[in-house]
Amino acid sequence: MTVGAAQLRASLFRRHGAAVSRRAKTTVTTAFLAMGAAYVLVPIYWLVVASSKTNSQLFSTPTFLPPAHPSWASNFKDLFTYQNGDFGWWLLNSFIYSSVTAALGATVSTLCGYGLAKYSFRGRRVVFALVVGSLMVPATALVVPLFLLEHFMGLTNTYQGVILPLVVYPFGVYFMSIFAADAVPDNLVDSARVDGAGEMRTLWQIGRPLLMPGIVTLFLLSFIGTWNNYFLPLVLLGTESRFPLTVGLSAWLSSISSVGAQPIYPEIILGSFVSVLPMLILFPFLQKYVARGLTLGAIAGE
C-alpha cells in the first residue's frame, strides 16, 4: 500500500491527538483491569488480615484493617492443637491424596494417550469414543454408586478408595492423545524401532522427554483438582484423621453452628489460609503449564 505525501502529513497530525487519546485509553483500560483484580484480591486480602485476629477481634475490629498486634503465633498453635491436632493430619492427607493421584493419573493417562496417538490397533476407535464420551458424564453423578461399590470392596474410608477413582482422568487421556500426536514425530519413533528399541523403551527414551511438558501439565491439573475436591472424599471417608483439608474444614464449620460449640473462627480462617498458601505461592511458576492444559481442549479444533 502506498501512502501519498498528503496522507502522510495528515497521519502525522493525527498522531499527536492519538498520543493523548492513547494515554486516556490506557488509563481507562488499566482502571477496568484493576477493578477486576480487586474483585479477585479482596477476599484473599481479608483472609490474610482475618487470620491474624483473635476470636473477639474478628467480631469487634474493622473487617479490612489488620489488628494492632497480629495473633498469628497463638492462632497457629491453636490450629495445630485443636482436636488432638487433626489439622496437621488433614494437611498431610491432602498432600498424599493429591501427589499420589497426580503421579498415578499422569502416568496412566500418558500411557493411554500416547498409545491412542501413535498406534493403530483393533478397538482404538472404541477406546477413543469411551474417553470422549466419558468427558460428558458428570463425575458427581457417579459418587453415590461409587460409594456403594467401594463399600462392597471394602475401599470406603481408605486412602486408595479416594485415590483410585481420581486416577481415572478421561480429560487427561484426551489431552495427552492430542499432545503426543504433535510432540512426538513419527519418524523419530520409527528410527528408534529400526535401531531395535522395544516399544516401551522407545516411549521411555524418545517419547518421555518430548512429552514432559504435557506430563507436567497433567500432573498439575490432577494435583489441583484433587486438592480442591470435596464431594468425593466427603462421601467416601468417615474417619476424621483421614480427611483432606476441604472435608476437615467443612466439618469444623458445621461444628460451629451446633449448640454450645466452641468459637473456632480463628482456627477455620487460618486453616483456610494455610490450605491455599502453598498453591498461591507456587502458582506464578506453574501458571503457564496449567493454562496450556485448559486451553488445549478448547483450541484443538480451531
Binding site: R22, T26, T29, T30, L33, G36, V40, P43, W46, A50, F59, F64, L111, C112, Y114, G115, A117, K118, S120, L130, M136, V137, P138, A141, L142, V144, P145, L146, F147, L148, L164, V167, V168, P170, I178, D186, D190, S191, E199, I224, N228, Y230, F231, T246, L249, S250, L253, S254, S257, S272, M279, F283, A291, T295, G297, A298, I299, A300, G301, E302
Partner: protein, 325 residues
C-alpha cells in the same frame, strides 16, 4: 490429527537405508506387534476405568431400577418418583435460572477482560493475567468459606453500614434464603471468571497478526477490531467456555453446602445437594441413583444439544471433531 504409525515414513532417511522395508512401507507382522503394544498401553487406564467409572455408571442404572424398600426390581418406580419430585425439579429449574444469569455475567466479564488484556492499551498484562487466574488454585470450599464470612453481618461490619445510615431496617443479610442464590453466583463468578478468561486469552493470542495489521491499515479502531475481528475469530472458544460453565452449574454442590453451614440457608438449593441428602440423610440410595441418572441425562442432553446448535451454525469444533477422527 493422530497420525498412524508408519504412514509417512517411506521417504524418511532411515527407511531408505533398510532395503527390505523400503519397498513396502508397512509390514504386517511388525504392525500387529506394534498394535498390541498400543493396546497394552491403554490397559492400565481401561482397567481402572472399568472398575471406577464404567462400573459405578452401570451400577447406578441397575440401582435406580430397584425398589427402595425391598431391593427387588421395580421397573421405573424410582423414575416416576423423580418425575413427581417437586424439590428436585425446582432445583433443576433454579440451576437453569442460575445458568442464564451467572454464566452470562461471567462469560461477558471473561470476554471483556480478555479483550482488554489483548488490547495495545494494556499495561502489566502478565500480572493481571496471573491475578485473574489465581482463584483456580483456591478450592471451592475455601472460596465459599471466605465469601461466606465476608457476607455474614456479624463478621463483616460493612454490611451494617446501610442500617447505620438509616437506609435499611437491619444489616444486609446476603446469605438470607432469598439472596443465597445470588451469593453463590458471586462466589462462582469469583472462582471461574479468570479460568474462562485464560482460555479466551490464549485463543485471542492465536488470532493471526496479519489480519489485525490489515484492519489497522484500513483505519479500523481498536474497538471495532475487537468486536468485528477478534471476537468472531474466537467464537468457538466462547461457545466452549459457555458449555463448560453450563455443565459446572448443573453440578453445583460445594458452595451451597458451605454457605448453609455458615448461615443455615435452609433447604437444599441444587440438584446435587438433593441427591446427597436423598442418599445419606434419608438413606434412599435407589432414589438417589435415579436422581443421579436423570441429572446426568439432563447434562448430556444439554451438552449434545449445545454441540448440535454450535455445529450447525459454526461447523465442527473441539471434542466432537476429535471424536470423529
Amino acid at each position: 490429527m493422530a497420525v498412524q504409525v508408519g504412514s509417512a515414513s517411506a521417504s524418511s532417511p532411515v527407511r531408505v537405508m533398510v532395503p527390505s522395508r523400503g519397498t513396502t512401507p508397512r509390514q504386517p507382522p511388525l504392525r500387529a506387534a506394534q498394535g498390541r503394544s498400543g493396546l497394552l498401553m491403554t490397559g492400565p487406564f481401561l482397567a481402572l476405568f472399568a472398575v471406577f467409572f464404567a462400573g459405578p455408571f452401570v451400577y447406578s442404572i441397575v440401582l435406580s431400577l430397584r425398589s427402595p424398600l425391598t431391593g427387588a426390581y421395580s421397573g421405573l418406580f424410582n423414575y416416576r418418583t423423580v418425575m413427581s419430585n417437586g424439590e428436585f425439579w425446582s432445583g433443576v429449574v433454579r440451576m437453569g435460572y442460575f445458568g442464564v444469569v451467572q454464566v452470562t455475567v461471567m462469560i461477558c466479564l471473561a470476554i471483556g477482560l480478555a479483550l482488554l488484556l489483548d488490547s495495545p492499551y494494556c499495561r502489566a498484562k502478565k500480572l493481571f493475567a496471573l491475578i485473574y487466574f489465581l482463584p483456580y488454585a483456591v478450592p471451592g470450599v475455601i472460596a465459599a468459606i471466605m465469601w461466606g464470612f465476608l457476607l455474614e453481618p456479624d463478621l463483616d461490619g460493612a454490611l451494617g453500614v446501610p442500617h447505620q445510615l438509616g437506609l435499611a431496617s437491619g444489616p444486609v443479610q446476603p446469605l438470607d434464603y432469598r439472596l443465597a442464590l445470588y451469593a453463590i453466583m458471586l462466589i462462582v463468578t469469583w472462582e471461574w471468571t479468570g479460568y474462562n478468561m485464560t482460555i479466551l486469552l490464549t485463543s485471542l493470542t492465536n488470532v493471526p497478526h496479519q489480519v489485525i495489521e490489515a484492519a489497522k491499515v484500513d483505519g479500523a479502531s481498536e474497538l471495532s477490531i475487537a468486536a468485528r475481528i477478534k471476537l468472531p475469530m474466537v467464537r468457538r472458544t466462547v461457545m466452549f467456555t459457555i458449555m463448560l460453565s453450563i455443565i459446572g452449574t448443573l453440578q453445583l454442590f460445594n458452595e451451597p453446602v458451605i454457605l448453609n453451614e455458615i448461615a443455615t440457608t435452609g433447604s437444599a438449593l441444587t440438584p446435587n445437594q438433593i441427591i446427597y441428602n436423598t442418599a445419606f440423610a434419608f438413606g434412599n440410595e435407589e432414589l438417589a441413583a435415579a436422581q443421579s441418572v436423570v441429572l446426568a441425562g439432563i447434562t448430556i442432553v444439554a451438552t449434545i444439544a449445545f454441540f448440535g446448535i454450535v455445529r450447525r451454525r459454526m461447523g465442527p469444533f473441539g471434542a466432537t471433531r476429535a471424536a470423529a477422527k
